[in-house]
């Protein structure tokens, strides 16, 4: 934090755009065209980057001079209250005494930030939910039986001499190959998206649209637990779903009839 006039503390985004380091000089031009020079005595740490990236902190007098404000004018005042429970009462009294002001309590600020982040994660969640829904619709579709085409194919295979077990083996491997391929494709795409492209699709939602973007790079982390969970939650059911109705379908005998080859339920003790 600046101790004296002519000093400033800046966020990392400001430091980077202006190529200044700690101890360097920040030159700002006021609306009247005057240049002001400040020595950088403080740099906000990366931890608070999301909030402080585009921040410049000056001493009071410097701010007043820079913006050409009257001496006794302030835009924001900090009021510290020792008894936390008094806060709402004092805020209320301030509004009563100075009708033009708007007191914001700390809990309100926290709540605001929370809503902002909740809103963003909500968006991500909404997109994610869409993908999840698509997945379950697909799985459901597989689970609720064979399509006419699949029935026909199984009928053909049976008619040309395939056993039920041959067909089951085929369908099982088909299921394994399909779900593993899609799982791996998804995983690789996600990996490329996050680690090589810097997650362009989700980063804006996480860090917001600040004027000076914090250089937020997603931290490369592959969690084996997550992978196992995703694997179990997607590949396994898809395999089973793929496999299951076939057991049902190929138990039937092929029937070879005028309208084409159909599978029909046994009629007399077959």
């Amino acid at each position: 934090m600046p101790e004296e006039r002519g000093e400033c503390a800046i966020g990392r985004g400001v430091a980077q755009t202006r190529y200044i380091r700690l101890g360097g000089e920040l030159i700002l031009t006021s609306s009247k065209g005057e240049h002001f020079l400040f020595r950088v005595t403080g740099l906000f740490t990366a931890d608070s980057e999301i909030l402080t990236n585009d921040l410049i902190v000056l001493k009071n007098q410097d701010v007043i001079e820079f913006f050409g404000m009257p001496e006794n004018r302030a835009t924001d005042l900090v009021v510290q209250v020792y008894n936390e429970r008094e806060v709402p009462v004092i805020a209320y009294k301030i509004t009563e005494m100075f009708p033009g002001t708007r007191p914001i309590t700390r809990s309100e600020i926290i709540r605001t930030y929370e809503t902002v982040f909740n809103w963003r994660s909500g968006m991500v969640l909404a997109m994610f939910a869409g993908a999840l829904a698509a997945f379950f619709i697909l799985a459901w579709d597989k689970a609720t039986g064979l399509s006419a085409e699949e029935r026909k194919e199984i009928g053909i295979l049976k008619a040309i001499g395939w056993n039920t077990s041959d067909i089951l083996t085929l369908k099982f491997w088909e299921g394994v190959v399909i779900s593993l391929t899609s799982f791996l494709t998804g995983l690789i795409l996600a990996y490329i998206h996050v680690f090589f492209l810097g997650a362009p699709l989700i980063v804006p939602a996480i860090k917001g649209w600040s004027v000076v973007f914090p250089d937020l790079r997603p931290f490369p982390q592959v969690n084996p637990n997550h992978i196992v969970v995703i694997l179990v939650a997607t590949v396994f059911p898809l395999c089973v779903k793929h496999f299951n109705p076939v057991v049902e379908g190929s138990g039937n005998r092929p029937r070879y009839g005028d309208e084409g080859l159909r599978l029909c339920r046994p009629i007399t003790g077959e």
Binding site: K152, E153, G155, I156, L157, K158, A159, I160, G161, W162, N163, T164, D166, R253, P254, R255, Y256, G257, D258, G260, L261, I267, T268, E270
Partner: protein, 227 residues
Amino acid sequence: MSAEVLIETIEVSRIYNPGMPCEVKAVDRISLKINRSDVVVIKGPSGSGKTTLLSLIGCMSRPTEGKVLIKEKDAVKLPESFLTQIRRDTFGFIFQQLHLIEGITVEENVMLPMYPLGARLDDIKDSAEKLLKKLDLLKKKSYKIKQLSGGEKQRTAIARALINNPEVILADEPTAHLDTALSEEFMSILYDLNQEGKTLIIATHDPLVYQEPYITRIIEMRDGAVL
């Protein structure tokens, strides 16, 4: 010298929906003997039971009554897995609707019946190529089924029926979707197969088929019975 009896049906019947108002006697107590290397045509109008009889002979469905003997073995009482084995060792089917699998290539379709025999993939490929060559389809082996003409589809179905080198070929209305030239071509392919010793059983009501001179026997059907 008496010829070897390959297939025999004894009083065989197939009743659909028995005991219901819509009961149909599709095949009604038919007895026949088919010798090795015979060319048998089952002739009759639509609905007379030709397809049903073919499927009984080919062990694709079980009779309601009667017996089907394949090389003197009663096939009716065999469990499903044995039937499958008889089907693939003895019969090659050419279906009326061809029943090729659309999504895969000509060669893959032809190879399909051979997979369950547990042969090596190379051997399966070799057999398929030999047949495709014989049927003048080698150039089209990597085509998808929907890219083929009607005659090419038909020949693919023939190749598939032949790959396990069956003793008997069953064909159901094989010329129904072919023009005269293609029908004649098909019949000449069948003739060649018969010359190699294959037994042919063809269900049809196409005169072009049943007037062929090399046919040994015509069985006429009406309402499930042999006339």
